[in-house]
Symmetry: C2
DNA sequence: AGTATATTGTTTAGTCATAAACAGTTTCTA
DNA sequence: TAGAAACTGTTTATGACTAAACAATATACT
């Protein structure tokens, strides 16, 4: 089914490049919405689950990640992490551990409750993802990964080019 | 360049399906960020440009769209459109036109300023998009569109299946 | 040593998003 | 025709996001 039909649009897209971009946007949006519905059963948001996942699998020797590391891995501004971790700390999922060596930053670590929550949710999440992506065979999945990666690389090049002038 | 490297992660993804999903998320996020930077030069957000585009190309006989139509085409909750249109009305880009036949809804229309703004920005936007998507030839672009469409279709099927239980 | 520079986390002001509940309006139906 | 059901837009409370400016701290430079 075409994007045009899905969104109830009256007219077609002017060119395929635009339809690609919108296809990426709307697929991401629908994936997030559907994931969000699932996480809601656990009183968790998708972004919060993302933090749990990063802390579980990407922690360094310190046993956690700094807020800046989290912001980089999540592609968000570090200011945003402050309130996100505030809420997760309040919910007992993570804790801020001060670092004596460098008092500028904290290490964010999973609490026991956070670890349990991750274990409980991750299984459901991964099986749902597998089910959703099952429409593409492994070759197609790798093709998709590669095409998206090429788009991101080109984003850097385009950005490095001439800035937009009015 | 792999997503792992782009995000500075320590460990690999467990399976390709997950990397696909994250690839879609992060590509969408990076596209939005870069677009947002461009729109900023015009005191416009990406979402607001999206509204201008929909009003320009998808308007019906009424010369505009209702807020519910906008919310469906943008895949957002209709409550969100209220404040979005408030801001755009304040900026003089659109106007709410009441409908005598059915007093439940308004038709949102472009103002002269809104039309001028769209014309000014659309050219830059489309050329940037073309430049970014130039890394994929037309066959690849159609493959991408098709794969994303298949994922969205499958989302409906998976959702229709058994609900998540704890 | 002392100044300049960079980094981390926070605060503030503003945008975009959701869900839930509400009022007003229209349509269905019994 | 009267009541039930559906639809549109709004409000409220909450979460996620950005940019910009700030204080505290650490590092580089001369």
């Amino acid at each position: 089914m075409s994007l045009k039909a899905e969104l109830g649009m009256r007219k077609n897209f002017d060119f395929p490049a635009h339809e690609c971009i919108l296809g990426i946007y709307y697929t991401a949006s629908r994936l997030r919405k559907q994931a969000g519905e699932g996480f809601r059963n656990f009183n968790l948001t998708e972004v919060q689950f993302n933090v749990l996942t990063l802390l579980k699998h990407q922690s360094g020797e310190s046993g956690g990640l700094t807020q800046v590391e989290l912001s980089r891995m999540m592609l968000v501004n570090r200011a945003n992490i402050t309130t996100l971790i505030d809420r997760m700390e309040k919910a007992g999922l993570v804790m801020r551990k001060p670092v004596p060596d460098d008092r500028r930053y904290n290490i964010i670590q999973l609490t026991t409750h956070g670890k349990e929550m991750y274990s409980k949710v991750a299984g459901v999440y991964h099986s749902k993802i597998a089910e959703i992506m099952d429409v593409l065979d492994e070759d197609d999945q790798n093709t998709l990964i590669s095409m998206l990666s090429r788009i991101r690389s080109n984003l850097d090049l385009v950005k490095a080019g001439e800035p937009i002038e009015d």
